[in-house]
């Protein structure tokens, strides 16, 4: 095989692209005084519609590397009339809203399996995370009627809240959080914050009848008021100014923007369609994550250094070629991780480092064959071609069996194992390209250079026959 100009051009294009993806962001970050990790300000999100691809290009670090809290929530006691997967999706939407309104950047809320939800909150500790998720609050709306509070109500509600108005007792209206479809912060005509809520049809009817009854009482009378309890506490005790029919209502009453937001969140969480419990939780301190990154960077750099040193000493000139191919390999793999937003976790890094080993192996296989062919007295060009040709079945079969393992791990494994599988698979794929295309083309260039034809450069003594 000759030097293939088209292949060389392809390698060059890929190398330049990879270097650009790897390096450009850092140049931009340094010149604009931004931190070297995390999302970048001032760069639009790359959007490739047909690939379903929409993100910024940077290394997405897993929680074990950047610190934060990972929760796996389980939804149980789903309300009758709702399927588990519907309940899960509703809960995902609600939790997402809560998380976003808390302003935690780069958080992830996504469904997992039939009844699980994964929540990832970078830089947030477990206590903060629990606060965001809240308890599984249950919202109820009560009215005040003359009378004394009975023991059963005192069990359900905080005694101080239940006995707010002497001579009046809270009576449940039958309206609860399950009837609220959405709540959000809004502003009234004078630009003061308030909270809009939407009811489903049943809630709408009940609320309409309830408010129509309440407006008949004069303002200031507790019987004019609408009492919203979340779990046991009274969170809102508002005057009813007019009857509210049509499925939506506005709660006013001295809100700040923050307290309106908080109530909206509470109302939303009050409509969680089941009981949410924590099935598993992991919290990693920020410094711990950073030291793990340092460790893996060291491992990667040390690994590469050892490999390059070994290849130079053992295989001489081809070793140099392979080292260049290997550096290119690392650059391309990193660019792919960035491009496809592969989240790098510790297990993922392990997969990547393992794939370096496999990339080396492909080169070692080729060079061993090359040496054999040279010893057998072939010319350099022929030996190089035969070396790659005869090493190929071993490279192909061993890498395909590794890809089979990756495939099984990715589709059936737990999230942590998935991360490992995907980086290993990318690594194996790129390493095959690196060994078969890059190394081979470089070798062919060498074969054409007169000074590179001395066999000693390949660690082989001139064959006796020659």
């Amino acid at each position: 095989m000759r030097v293939d100009r088209r292949l060389l051009a392809l390698i060059a294009v890929i190398a330049v692209l990879a270097l650009f993806i790897d390096g450009f962001a850092y140049v931009y970050r340094v010149t604009t005084n931004q931190p070297l990790t995390g999302p970048i300000r001032g760069i639009p999100t790359l959007n490739i519609g047909f690939l379903g691809f929409s993100q910024q290009i940077y290394v997405h670090k897993g929680l074990d590397l950047q610190g934060g809290t990972h929760l796996e929530l389980e939804i149980t006691n789903v309300r009758s009339g709702t399927t588990v997967s519907d309940a899960r999706d509703v809960a995902v939407a609600i939790i997402e809203r809560r998380v976003n309104s808390s302003g935690y950047a780069e958080s992830v809320v996504r469904p997992e399996g039939l009844n699980r939800i994964i929540v990832e909150l970078p830089g947030v500790n477990l206590e903060q995370a629990k606060q965001v998720l809240g308890k599984t609050s249950y919202l109820t709306i009560w009215k005040w009627e003359p009378g004394t509070v009975d023991a059963a109500t005192l069990q359900q509600l905080n005694p101080t809240d239940a006995q707010k108005y002497p001579g009046y007792k809270p009576v449940f209206t039958g309206i609860d959080g399950s009837m609220i479809t959405n709540a959000s912060r809004s502003t009234d005509t004078t630009n003061l914050p308030d909270v809009s809520i939407s009811f489903n049809s049943k809630g709408s009817d009940l609320f309409c009848a309830f408010t129509r009854d309440r407006v008949t009482h004069p303002q200031g009378d507790p019987q004019n008021k609408l009492a919203i309890f979340i779990d046991k506490s009274l969170v809102e005790d508002a005057n009813v100014i007019s009857e509210i029919c049509g499925g939506s209502a506005i709660i006013t009453g001295g809100f700040t923007a923050a307290s309106a937001e908080a109530l909206a969140i509470q109302l939303n969480s009050g409509s969680l369609p089941g009981t949410i419990s924590i099935a598993s939780a992991t919290e990693v301190g920020a410094t711990l994550g950073a030291s793990t990154v340092k460790l893996s960077l060291f491992a990667g750099a040390f690994g590469l250094a050892i490999v390059i040193l070994f290849m130079l000493l053992y295989y001489r000139l081809p070793g140099l070629v392979a080292s260049i191919a290997l550096l290119l390999y690392a650059g391309i793999a990193l660019a792919i991780f960035k491009l496809f937003g592969v989240t790098l976790t510790l297990a993922g890094l392990a997969g990547f480092i393992l794939s370096i080993g496999m990339a080396v192996d492909a080169n070692v296989l080729i060079f061993e064959r090359l040496k054999e062919e040279l010893r057998a007295g072939r010319t350099l060009g022929a030996a190089m071609e035969a070396g790659v040709h005869r090493a190929w079945p071993a490279i192909r079969d061993s890498n395909i069996s590794t890809l089979i393992t990756c495939f099984v791990l990715y589709f059936f494994g737990a999230p942590l194992i998935k991360g490992f599988a995907i980086t290993l698979a990318i690594g194996v794929g790129v390493s095959m390209f690196s060994a078969i295309v890059t190394t081979q083309q470089f070798l062919q260039i060498l074969a054409g250079l007169r000074p590179a034809r001395r066999l000693a450069l390949y660690g082989v003594r001139a064959p006796k026959a020659a």
């Binding site: 206590e127 992991t282 070994f310 297990a347 192996d361 071993a394």
Partner: protein, 289 residues
């Protein structure tokens, strides 16, 4: 060098390593991490040295079946039965009050019983599915004898690794020998590596068999092993170098992972040279077709 001729010695050496492990697995079982047993685990880092025994005393007051182990001079690993949210908060607050805790270097994990059960089933299943698919692929590329020999070598490595882990965890009671998700990842890596290594030698045998030669099957296999030896050792040594370095500098929570990889890679290299290919010869003798 006659590796195939001395095969029984090599098989014996493998047995000598695997048997204690199997006995340990059968009678003592494994030291299960919270990933598999369910429970809570605090990986606590302190700003100054703290003795595990002191933390143990404190944890005993909570009555949550806590075990505390030293992890470096400035750290401990606390494992408890599954805690409620309130218990967890209380214990954390108490520890932060009584010890010089550094939250930014600490970590915490909680695994509920349902997830733990799924993982146990999942990990075993993954190894089985991957093995079956690899057997199918190798049967197509080589033949079923090669495929079975490769899988036997793979099982050898899995047994060496799990056996040593059982002994580490149960006999030596070391936290390194804990079976957790990272260990499963390591085991799966080892499987990938083991098959990879075996296939490279098998490829050489396949190639040598195709060429007409006066060599017997046994001589052919031996020749192929020798021809691949440089490559096998070179590749494994580079990986081993990296892993040894990683093992030495890893923090406690990753040390087990790197150690498992190290043992598995060494075992994988050994089994592909000394077990997988000689097994082909044994099989050929029993069934000379």
């Amino acid at each position: 060098m006659n590796i195939v001729g001395r095969r029984n010695w090599y098989f014996l050496l493998s047995l000598a390593i695997i048997l204690p492990g199997i006995i340990s697995m059968a009678f003592l079982g494994f030291r299960l991490g919270i990933d598999f047993a369910g429970g809570d685990q605090y990986n606590l880092a302190f700003t100054q040295p703290v003795q595990a025994s002191v933390v143990q005393k404190e944890m005993d007051t909570f009555n949550v079946e806590a075990t505390v182990q030293q992890a470096g001079p400035n750290g401990v690993l606390v494992t408890t039965k599954p805690l409620s949210s309130v218990q967890e908060t209380t214990i954390r607050a108490d520890l932060a009050k009584k010890f010089p805790l550094d939250p930014s270097r600490s970590s915490y994990a909680q695994v509920g019983p349902t997830i733990a059960r799924e993982l146990v089933v999942g990990a075993g299943g993954l190894i089985v599915i991957a093995s079956i698919l690899i057997v199918i692929y190798l049967s197509i590329r080589f033949n079923y004898k090669f495929a079975v020999a490769a899988i036997l070598a793979l099982l050898h490595d899995v047994f060496v690794l799990t056996g040593i882990w059982s002994i580490l965890g149960k006999v030596f009671n070391s936290p390194l020998g804990e079976i957790n998700t990272l260990f499963v990842t390591a085991a799966l890596t080892v499987i990938g590596f083991s098959v990879h290594d075996t296939i490279v030698i098998f490829d050489r045998i396949r190639e040598n068999l195709r060429q007409a030669s006066r060599l017997t099957f046994e001589q052919n296999v031996n020749l192929s092993i020798i021809q691949s030896l440089a490559r096998s050792l070179n590749t494994s040594m580079t990986v081993v170098f990296v892993l040894v370095a990683l093992f030495l500098i890893s923090p406690t929570n990753i040390k087990g992972f790197t150690l498992a990889l190290l043992i598995g890679i060494v075992s994988g290299t050994y089994s592909s040279i000394f077990n997988a290919s000689p097994l082909l010869v044994v099989w050929r003798r029993l069934d000379p077709r």
